[in-house]
Assembly symmetry: C2
Homo-oligomer: 354 residues x 2
DNA sequence: ATTAGCACTCTTGACCGCCGAGTGCTAACC
DNA sequence: GGTTAGCACTCGGCGGTCAAGAGTGCTAAT
């Protein structure tokens, strides 16, 4: 009996999965609980509503679907969505037109800032949700060049250029006045010495070598290093992301209650929660999903986040993705995020080759 | 008869104005149409509801109030608000605590970018609406210093510093390669020659003197000027504003319909309409209001905008303000905007004196 | 194992009537 | 003549009822 049951359960499972898949696709399409009759008609499985009701009861026991009230159809739960995206979904290849749109949108500029901005705009316009792109993390940028510009006697404008093409400005106050030629000398020294290092590495070395210079009573050296240290300071992490199309989320009646939406928008301006999440998904390879409460952040518990890391110089530099309602068209969104990440990677790459 | 009527009408008007004032204050307070009985109780005028009904009928004829339906109280129209803010409102002086909050919030930083950002945050938190601060207009900034940094043989990073303390970076491509010393020479020349001019003036001169240099076959000069011209280019207007607390607007049930709110938010990201408005109110002295449809922009027709220009170096540099529902506490908001503008002015001033 | 049938549940929208708030008008009042 | 009391009227909002529709769970038959 047990043996029989196992084998039968397997076949049931396959069928149940198929039904779950159809149910979720259906629910994503029109946002209403799906009933047994609808499923019986559209599943392609030639089963009567009654049979399907039995299967639904099983799925409900497994926690994959739930019904909002006694006499409504079923809607997927978070676990249901999870199973769907992990094993059931059939991804829709991206239409050529949209790929072209992405390509042209991302090849136009050499400035990484603009590139990041267009990527997030493209994501939002292709998915009709909110797109976001994390700015390359400061730690992982590589140092290329630093310059000091006197603003007043004891105030300097420092300009930091990375290999990736980013430019950072910062005003620092110094203890004593330097002549322009001294400043040039400082800059030259730093540029020769540290060019090509990652910010993180550079920071480490700066600290170490500053110690050394002080011991050696090498004033000049120590001063230059101290100034550089003030600019490189990893505390000013510069971690940030760019977002576009937040207002798209207002179209989803999933967020009909204003306060939920407000909470979400606030967490977009707060940034730290989102950054945490993005940071976490830097490590993963390929597309990653956070469905509903999976993210662990209350503000996002009605949303899903689809992310993919992008590379510069074959090292992971950042993450991009979209935010939308849990009930989103995963089959379309996943490829979009995936391809956008790839294209952004190459767009940033070619820039460097120039 | 006519003479008498005029005199009586005058006295009626005074009373009517008083009633209009109380009505608007009341409506602003709790957002519901105000009826004759309420007014009779709270106006302090010791009039019966019936009399007040007559006055209301007059006010309605004058287009200052309207009733949403036959048996509701009256609500102010745009003209009603206009009359209110122009002649009736008694402004509430800002509490010392809030002034201190503003002062500490605005004196902490020397960087104009940060200053602008905190000003808009302060505005939003003090008014519980959306605060915005327009960035000093490029044209009106004064040139202080320019530097050229070679990135690759024919690509230069240009750094532009204004007297106001802003730093602008831009990457430009040049036709031929220059040696570092040539670049320094260019920069020196430009800095000596143009320092202290407004961008607008500088641009004019650049064009003129470039012509001259070409005629004189002064290659070096012409090249330097051409490079500068690429950086100064007023087309890249850099007009922009910083906004904070948009989500506050979601709390007002005045914007209960999502699409209205969305339109508004979209116009915030679009920016040009808002910039137009802000630009227009740069000329006005002191606080200026756009109530409802007065702004002329559809997206803003449920909102009011309260603005005030701020100065740097006793020249108008930009505008700041708040956006909120037409039904906002003008008596509190107007002083807040006014004082914030003054404090931002001094905060930016002292910066320069340093 | 599957299905048909049936009773039951729950939501939704329409309809109804009532209450309260407020108006406009008229006639009386000072 | 301005002001007021009184009265009829209007309208939105609220609660209740009702029927229709959709969907379920269970049972018994296939």
């Amino acid at each position: 009996m047990t043996v029989k049951k196992v084998s039968s359960e397997l076949s049931v499972n396959e069928r149940a999965q198929q039904l779950l898949k159809v149910l979720i696709e259906r629910y994503i399409q029109d946002g209403e609980p799906v009933g047994s009759r609808t499923l019986s008609r559209d599943s392609g499985l030639d089963l009567s509503p009654a049979t399907i009701r039995n299967v639904m009861a099983d799925l409900e026991d497994l926690g994959l679907v739930s019904s909002p009230h006694t006499s409504a159809g079923r809607i997927p739960t978070v676990s249901g969505y999870r199973m769907f995206v992990d094993t059931l979904v059939t991804l829709k290849p991206l239409e050529a037109g949209k790929i072209r749109q992405l390509e042209t949108g991302l090849y136009s500029s050499a400035d990484p800032k603009i590139l990041v901005e267009s990527a997030s705009k493209l994501l939002s316009s292709l998915t009709h949700m909110a797109g976001l792109v994390m700015i390359p993390r400061r730690k992982q940028l590589t140092f290329r060049q630093i310059e000091f510009l006197p603003l007043s006697s004891k105030r300097l404008l420092t300009i930091l250029v990375t290999t990736e093409g980013e430019v950072h400005n910062r005003v620092i106050d110094v203890r004593k006045a330097y002549t322009p030629s001294q400043l040039v000398q400082f800059a030259n020294m730093l540029n020769q010495h540290y060019s090509g290092l990652s910010m993180e590495e550079m920071h480490k070395r700066l600290v170490r070598e500053m110690e050394q210079a002080r011991k050696d009573m090498n004033q000049i050296m120590a001063q230059a290093l101290e100034m550089a240290e003030q600019v490189i300071d990893p505390e000013i992490s510069g971690d940030d992301y760019v977002m576009a199309g937040q207002t798209n989320l207002m179209d989803f009646n999933d967020f009909s209650q204003m306060n939920k939406l407000r909470e979400l928008f606030d967490s977009f301006t707060e940034k730290n929660e989102i950054l945490h999440l993005l940071d976490g998904s830097m490590l993963a390879e390929g597309v990653q999903l956070f469905i509903g409460e999976e993210s662990g952040y209350k503000a996002l518990d009605q949303c899903s986040l689809v992310t993919a890391p992008y590379q510069v110089d074959s090292k992971v530099a950042g993450v991009l993705g979209v935010v939308g309602p849990t009930r989103m068209a995963y089959d379309r969104v996943i490829p979009i995020v995936d391809i956008t990440a790839r294209l952004l990677s190459t767009a940033m790459q070619t820039r460097k080759a120039k």
